[in-house]
């Protein structure tokens, strides 16, 4: 397939980013969120299609929870199995702050090489 390279690259990029985004979403939210809700928030922030497959956020949520960055509680649901609601911990907020700095640094660094100057768009010289 032609876009397999692109998909592979996107998947590799997502590896660490999913955790950062999940922490950020939960840090912004006043209420506890469950997996499906988080997935839909991510999708709606990107015009309905999430950058990463929503199925990949569940294992990451559990991993963050196992690392004490999130706490969770189980609430029964009418539509299916009981839902697990997540909330960020103080430790999680600390980690998020550190990760944000790393991300900002990484983004700026990468941008330095890959940024397309606005003036060049549409004016190939």
């Amino acid at each position: 397939m032609d876009d397999s390279n692109e998909r592979k690259f996107q998947k590799e990029l997502n590896g660490g980013l999913v955790g950062l985004v999940l922490l950020a979403v939960l840090a912004q939210s006043d209420e506890d969120l469950y997996g499906y809700e988080i997935a839909k928030r991510l999708a709606s922030a990107n015009d309905g299609t999430s950058i990463f497959k929503e199925g990949t956020i569940y294992p990451v949520l559990r991993a963050l929870s196992a690392g004490d960055l999130l706490t969770s509680r189980i609430v029964p649901s009418y539509s299916g199995p009981p839902r697990r609601y997540y909330r960020i911990t103080e430790q999680g907020r600390g980690v998020l702050a550190a990760w944000k700095l790393i991300w900002a640094g990484t983004r700026d660094f990468v941008d330095r090489f890959t940024e397309i100057e606005p003036s060049k768009i549409g004016h190939p010289s």
């Binding site: 499906y36 299609t49 929503e54 199925g55 569940y58 559990r62 299916g80 199995p81």
Partner: protein, 325 residues
């Protein structure tokens, strides 16, 4: 993807289970649970669409079964790698023998052995009371609901036991309960429950935990008290010799019977060394018992899945190479 896309939740879950075949049974249970939560929420969020219409779009939102399976496997390996504290590999045999004191699993396993007595009694009473009341109520109208309640509570207890075992021995156990699905009728669910091998092995596990718990407790308490007493002996002897405190009339160096132990100071350091060796052996034993018990609990409490591959000690075979034993 080279096979037909799933058109129903059940089909999706079956394909996901097939994709995960060979993975840890506990991981499969978690992955299926998460997927079912998402899929049912997605179907419920689109009441105007049929289940197959919703499932058609799942591959682009939730991800196809093979993608999701890959995500679980990757995350599991990464988390295990990140959480596992790198252990120094002791070089000499002596280092390997005494290295057990640096392994937190040995301490937690020993704690687990002590705790098994208490949990064993609770599980045993729970199982026996539940079974006998179910039998007694069988003729009454509350018989069936009572038995169902008993089995349901048993599943929650078995999940809690799994969490305890994972915390103390490090062997992966399920983090989510098994979700049976709501499509079945009341009587069909009862039938499934009775046919499910796990219902009965769970009850058997609860009953077996009493003798097992007593055995673990006795081994741990006897091992600890004997070895610690031996280790304390030279220290007490030295302190008593210096006249720091008396031993309530008991003399460390006595010529009374039995003479062969304490008529000279010679036996005291030997007993002290024996105590250290005994304590170290106990730590090894505790770690081994913890691992074996976790495998036993997994075979009794976690549903068999499509895969019949033998479970290795800790899931994530690639990691086994980095961790000694």
């Amino acid at each position: 993807m080279n096979r037909s896309a799933p058109r129903s939740i059940d089909q999706y879950l079956r394909q996901l289970r097939e994709e995960l075949a060979g993975s840890d049974a506990a991981l499969i249970q978690d992955a299926l649970y998460d997927a079912e939560e998402y899929l049912r929420a997605e179907v419920a969020a689109h009441p105007d669409k049929s289940e197959s219409d919703v499932l058609e779009l799942i591959a682009s939102t939730y991800g196809a079964p093979d993608e999701v399976a890959g995500a679980y496997r990757d995350t599991e390996v990464k988390v295990k790698a990140a959480m596992a504290t790198p252990r120094k590999v002791p070089k000499s045999r002596l280092g390997a023998f005494f290295g057990v004191f640096l392994d937190p699993r040995a301490y937690t396993s020993l704690f687990f052995m002590l705790l098994c007595m208490a949990t064993g009694i609770i599980y045993f009473v729970f199982a026996i009371v539940g079974l006998s009341l179910s039998a007694g109520f069988a003729a009454l109208i509350i018989g069936v609901p009572f038995f169902l309640l008993f089995v349901a509570v048993g599943r929650v207890v078995s999940l809690a036991e799994g969490r305890l075992i994972e915390a103390t021995t490090g062997v992966r156990m399920p983090r989510r309960p098994v979700y049976q699905g709501s499509a079945l009728t009341f009587w069909a669910r009862i039938g499934e429950m009775l046919k499910d091998r796990r219902t009965w092995t769970t009850i058997a596990y609860f009953i077996l935990m009493l003798p097992i718990g007593i055995l673990y407790f006795v081994i741990a308490v006897v091992g600890l008290s004997v070895s610690l007493a031996f280790i304390a002996l030279p220290i007490v002897a030295v302190l008593a010799q210096t006249g720091l405190f008396g031993l309530g009339g008991v003399e460390v160096f006595s010529h009374a019977e039995p003479e062969w132990i304490f008529d000279s100071g010679f036996a005291i350091p030997i007993l002290g060394v024996a105590g250290v060796l005994l304590l170290t052996s106990l730590m090894h034993l505790a770690r081994g018992v913890g691992r074996l018990h976790a495998l036993f609990a997994k075979s009794m409490l976690v549903a068999r899945t499509a895969s019949n591959t033998p479970q290795t000690l800790e899931s994530g075979a690639p990691l086994a190479a980095t961790a000694p034993r």
